[in-house]
Symmetry: C2
Subunit: 414 residues, 2 copies
């Protein structure tokens, strides 16, 4: 493990000074290597799937673990998309001159060495490796044991890309063991080598990382997201947004988990919204008003307002207006992503200002909580931290900065 | 302690939405309260000084602890200067529209609740309280036991300012005990209430905080700063910069600790630079070349290249050129602040790019490592972290951001 750290530190130094051309060439060569290695990737994946089935893993986990030709092509294309992104390194993000003539620039630099600990999705190997490379960071990947062989095969393609471009293979390293002690060591034993840890996976993993890490963490916890349908919401728009926010994909962190309906819209909007959800196969757990509006609605408990279902289940509550919606979100929400549907611009601004979440939307689905949809090209996750990076974490969020000051002999008085 | 946390959380909510006018009014009223309370502050400070002397504290510590009318006036003026700064909260730092018509804004928001743990300087109470207030953060101050009474008296003035402006007094709270258990609790027991901890003081304090904290930390460790005098340096400029960088104040983190002289400049520049330092009363510990250039130079050991003296002592080494200077800094430096003196623009750019420190300067003193000198108005410290904030930490660095997205009914396809 220490060897990984030493090699990462040396690679990070090379990578910090690497030109955009070099980094992009490595990404494009890696994409080609992935396409060429498709049969090997499928074979490695079949091995992982077999083990997973033998261990009795569930359908959802198997689905996440699966590679097929579409997914392999999409991984390769992902690498090319990251290559097409602007290079954040060296960008001047602020520039000013002081009265004494000193000229200041704030310039983007890499964070250094990033460790990424993830679970079963093998494509994270390619995505995370690519984002770290583009942002000039060396990375140590620690894939979950379920995707051990798939991740190793993908990682070999990334290494091939680096070597083809003349960059050190150690820019993207992989922990070659599924030993859980290795994770402990990454989190607490390598503070001299690792600048930040990014956990990507379920709540258990993220909580463990936040508890054990002795280096900074970029993590996301719950996405208990809300849609608030205001008394001045257009019903057709509200219906489309609610259905999309809840059901487009139920397993992602930007999926809506609670629908709040303004009592001023209850008479007209509540029953149609409930009907649309129920007819689409969604389980609805509601307060008394929601239960009265549709007999298929089950009773909600206090626990429902707090739950990230990640499933075709939604909690529904009627609230006295936008202020009550804001208060409900402050009390039960996880500060991830919330949306208001209303035609009233003043009400919308009130909600957008007062709700303290990483992403607040007006008249749009919460499922836009995604780096790609933000135009960042890709993301390593959605941070619910307030520190360093908040919301989608793309290449820009994987950088730090330094101040460059140019003078003509100035000394400090006094 | 938990009560402090609950009150801070409630105050943070009010403060996040507070207008610039309200926050500035509180700062200006606090400045007036400090001026009016001068006799009380001096009395409280005399009490602290008496205890400190009884405990046999050293002259430097007593000097740091001391309040006099000049320092009281400068504290009051500091509050007014922070009031005059731009309000970072609500600033739009990025804005774009996606092809689907969604309009994105990234908007500055406060971090939330900040805990500041510091040592003997009582003025930190005013500075830190003011910076947190201006950046919309509630703060829990934990002054050192040495300044217990002084800090309490200053804190009372800040509270008076808040109350006069109609803001909750809990926006700026003080831990009313010197119990060391309180620090442990702030660091590890209040993760639901505290968003970030800022330690301000000696290395022991900062290392303890980084070890024990279960919340993010903005800390600075060593400032082992370098001046490199290149073969194309103007001698007069080099002399002035070296003297200022080392001796203007020796106890601050931006003070130079090692002087690197290009061997191409040794024949002309080395002896005059050594003479200037020695004549000004600085102890010089040098390599063989430096010892040969002036008989008063003591021999340097490997340990000297690593030492932050914070005193009138400097280590001097002759290096073969700019690349060797960059390598020396990478090996021994603490990535805080380094300066190159040269008339050659290409050499300067090479140094500014290759040295991976929070602040890199060309033809200027390292003692400019200061938020005030950067034009930030004030600072809470100089961060040597790469994560979140690097370099001077002013009001802008005490903020996070959120994304505000405005749509017209967009839902996410597929």
């Amino acid at each position: 493990m220490l060897q990984l750290g030493v090699a990462a530190l040396a690679a990070a130094e090379v990578l910090a000074a690497a030109s955009r051309e070099l980094k992009d060439a490595a990404l494009i060569a890696a994409a080609a290597a992935i396409r060429a290695a498709a049969p090997r990737l499928l074979e490695a994946n079949a091995q992982d799937l077999q083990t997973a089935r033998a261990r009795g893993l569930s359908g959802a986990l198997l689905e996440r673990l699966l590679l097929d030709s579409t997914r392999i092509e999409s991984m390769a294309r992902g690498l090319e998309q990251v290559a097409a992104l602007e290079d954040p390194i060296g960008t001047v993000t602020a520039e000013w001159t002081q009265p004494n003539g000193l000229r200041f620039q704030r310039v983007r630099v890499p964070l250094g060495v990033i460790a990424i600990i993830y679970e079963s999705r093998p494509n994270v190997t390619a995505d995370a490796g690519a984002l770290c490379l583009k942002s000039g960071n060396a990375v140590i990947l620690r894939p979950g044991s379920e995707s051990f062989h798939s991740s190793a095969a993908i990682h070999a393609c990334l290494e091939a890309g680096l070597v083809a471009a003349g960059l050190p293979a150690a820019c993207i390293q992989r922990v070659p063991t599924t030993d859980r002690e290795a994770v402990r060591y990454l989190l607490a034993g390598m503070t001299d080598y690792i600048d930040v840890v990014v956990p990507r996976g379920g709540k258990g993993l993220i909580e463990r990382v936040q508890r054990e890490a002795r280096v900074p963490v970029i993590g996301h916890l719950d996405g208990n997201c809300h849609v608030y349908v205001d008394r001045e919401a257009d019903l057709a728009m509200a219906r489309e947004i609610v259905l999309n926010a809840k059901l487009r994909r139920t397993g992602i962190c930007g999926a809506a988990e609670t629908l709040l309906v303004d009592e001023g819209a209850a008479a007209t909007h509540l029953a149609p919204l409930l009907r649309a959800l129920l007819d689409a196969g969604c389980e609805v757990r509601g307060d008394a008003a929601a239960q009265a509006a549709d007999p298929r609605v089950l009773p909600a408990t206090e626990q429902d307002w707090l739950t990230e279902y990640l499933d075709a289940i939604i909690a529904v509550r009627v609230v006295p207006g936008v202020e009550a919606a804001i208060a409900h979100i402050a009390r039960y929400g996880s500060a991830h992503t919330e949306s208001i549907v209303t035609e009233n611009a003043v009400t919308a601004e009130r909600f957008l200002n007062a709700v303290d979440s990483a992403i607040v939307l007006h008249n749009a689905s919460t499922q836009f909580a995604d780096g790609g949809e933000f135009g960042m090209g890709a993301e390593i996750g959605i941070s619910t931290d307030r520190f360093h990076a908040r919301g989608p974490v793309g290449v820009e969020q994987l950088t730090s900065y330094k101040y460059v000051v140019r003078g003509t002999g100035q000394v400090r008085p006094g």
